[in-house]
Amino acid sequence: MLFNSFQFAVFFVIVFTLYLLFNHKWQNRMLFVASCLFYGTWDWRFLFLMFTSISVDYFCAIRIGQSDDEKVRKRFLVLSIVVNLSILGFFKYFNFFTDSLQTFIHYLRFPFHVRFLNIILPLGISFYTFEAMSYVIDVYKRKVEPTKHYLDYALFVTYFPHLIAGPIMRAKDLLPQIAFPRTLSLTKFYEGCYLIFWGLFQKIFVADNLAKVVDPVFTSGESYHGAKIVLALYAFAFQIYCDFDGYSNIARGLGKCMGFDIMVNFNLPYLSTNPREFWQRWHISLSSWLRDYLYIPLGGNQRSGLITFRNIIITFLLGGLWHGANWTFVLFGAYHGLLLILYQSLLPLLKKLSVPRAIKIIFFFHFICFGWLIFRAQSASQLLELLKALILNFQFVADAGLKQMASKIIFFTWVVVLVNLLQFKRNDLITVFRLNWATKVIFYLTCFYLILIFGVSGAKEFIYFRF
């Protein structure tokens, strides 16, 4: 069941009606059942897998909380992490590692064949595993009290707005909202409706239409055309942003309607001027997770420069791998890691330069786009072909096809660009919601009819569902 489908609209209307009728205790029970139904419509078998993870983490957290013996506490922490990573490793990375092993064995010319398994990737596994791990680690670090109520913890993991593609919520933020009665207010409800509407616009009008511009360039068997790749990269930058930010906005909006506060996951990432700022604005819940549970435990930037760089590289490599079982994602992580290291190294020099922010944004946007090239390539060999076309064989012929592609990109992105600039200027992510009524009416009507007339019908999956 996708957020951008009629089935989900019907589902949410029913859930919300029941939510209004029930008291806090029954609201939680109903939300838990609804979340299981929501997940089960995709594949009910994986509910068992999710509950294995939930039960192990719930049990481990309780034992960690109960014990003062550091050895016992560590034992349960390790148990929880091993179970979570084993599930994630098996379902997400087994074939990737066996395939890489097979390639390596083949390279050494050993007559040995590795066995592959036909594994289905459970939806949202990377998101809920990270969320569960953060809970147990926080309990271990005594940042969070373990919850005694199984249902509260299960709802923390399964709560349907953020179950499939995040944001990866922290227990300290979400668990209290589950444990205590939530306050519903009209202001929150309207804000929620606005976020859902804006998220749907980003997904149905922008992302799904841009996918039609991007996909042919990356999937055609024909030789690659340098200028077309550049345009496709611009389009993909907005496609992936609007796809994921759209999902996050809908998730936040759904949460707000029910009185939940779900964290902001994107904060105008393309208006960043450097890699550090970019990762503070892009997929905030993942980058802050990696910072708190990987980068800082590795030592962060508290030791020598080389150790810091090592920590950055490890964090980004694993962050890249988190996205999917493909070498292109590892390269994507490595690229961003190196970019950050380069930025850190040149920082004293860069500080001396006085370049207008707009120039910095445009300049850095191209570095982000290059990262998307690595991310979007279907394989390392395709990446190589694309790079060849882009660097060694770049041709610019402003033919009709290219002009059409450019005009499509402008048409599908102008609203998002304008809104982003306004959000940036006013430093307010829901600035549109605060405009005067006449401007809002024009905005709502424009977005509504753009969705209606040009929106891609037939709910298309969100890109981050694959991760």
Partner: protein, 343 residues
């Protein structure tokens, strides 16, 4: 327990912009609905049957009448629409007959839908079914399906199956139904002076005409023969191939007929002699014969009728693809003779 604080109406926070937007959308949608139901642009009157699928819509409505009791039902595209005169068939065979053929847009899919609706609505099974599609019709695939959006009543389920629920619902939105109309006005504002608002009346007139003529519009094919360079070129160069979507529904029709013990007469499309010569010289002819052979093998009880030699005079056609009044009289007689043989 209702969360009361949600329902405290705080007028300072009243979502005026949301409500005004909803109101404006409702007004515009209402206006679009009135436009799409009542208006058309006079200059494009000829296109009304094509674009708005009035004929398809009416025939679909007739296919769902419980009291239907036809001995012969005909399905097809514009070739069948201009070719099978049911009054003539009734006269020759004394079997009640109705021609459900439509225009070329997704006529295989439309034919299947109407056939299914017909058999669902009535317990009186027809004895014979005549199918006649032009070669070009087999090329039409799923992407063209949304042009048949007027064809929704009674077919919602197969539309959902083919297009998905979201898209099917989208086909019902007034703005999108009137999109073509608005687009023409935007491109040429002077067309505003040619708007006619008697579409409903046209619909009623057309419906009574179709009911009286048993699905055949007599004034459609009283046109003298004419041909364009383009049509000749098409006959020479056309590559015959079958879209899997069209084939799937042809197959479904034949299967349905077989299950209901309806004898199927498959009429191969005919053309004027000089066009047929061009056609025979092309590879298309052999491909089409292979296709018909494959149908023959698959459905042994299928009766395939090839009247090309009897219908090759230019005087029998209005254009290279469609028979005129004289031609359709002759084709209907030939089909009736075959039905009589089988009775």
């Amino acid at each position: 327990m209702v969360q009361k604080n949600l329902f405290i109406l705080d007028f300072k926070k009243f979502p005026g912009a949301f409500l005004i937007t909803v109101l404006l959308v409702l007004l515009f949608e209402g206006f679009s609905f009135l436009i799409s139901e009542n208006c058309y642009i006079g200059q494009t009157e000829q296109m009304i049957e094509q674009r708005e699928n009035l004929i398809t819509r009416i025939k679909n409505e007739i296919s769902q009448v419980k009291e239907n009791n036809f001995g012969v039902i005909a399905f097809g595209d514009s070739y069948g629409n201009c070719g099978i005169i049911c009054k003539a068939v009734k006269k020759e065979t004394s079997l009640d007959c109705f021609n459900f053929s439509t225009n070329g847009r997704n006529s295989v899919f439309n034919s299947f839908s109407m056939m299914r609706n017909y058999l669902k609505a009535t317990s009186q099974k027809p004895k014979f079914m005549v199918i006649s599609f032009n070669l070009y019709t087999y090329l039409l695939g799923k992407p063209k399906l949304e042009y048949s959006y007027e064809f929704l009543p009674g077919n919602f389920d197969i539309f959902v199956r083919e297009l998905g629920f979201d898209h099917t619902v989208k086909c019902l939105i007034p703005t999108l139904r009137a999109q073509e109309f608005f687009l023409q006005i935007v491109q040429d504002p002077f067309l505003l002076f040619q708007i006619k608002n008697d579409k409903r009346k046209r619909y009623e007139v057309l419906k009574s005409k179709l009911t009286a003529d048993l699905g055949f519009i007599s004034d459609l094919n009283e046109i003298p023969y004419s041909e364009s360079e383009d049509q000749i070129e098409r006959a020479r160069d056309y590559q015959f191939s079958i879209d899997p979507f069209a084939y799937h529904y042809l197959d479904a029709m034949l299967e349905l007929a077989h299950r209901n013990e309806i004898k199927v007469l498959y009429v191969m499309p005919t053309r004027p002699k000089h066009i047929d010569q061009l056609f025979e010289e092309s590879e298309e002819a052999q491909r089409y014969r292979d296709f018909v052979d494959s149908l023959r093998k698959r459905y042994s009880d299928l009766i395939i009728l090839d009247f090309q030699k009897l219908l090759e005079e230019k005087q029998l056609y209005q254009d290279p693809l469609h028979l005129n009044k004289k031609g359709s009289d002759l084709l209907s007689t030939l089909v009736s003779q075959k039905i009589n043989e089988l009775q």
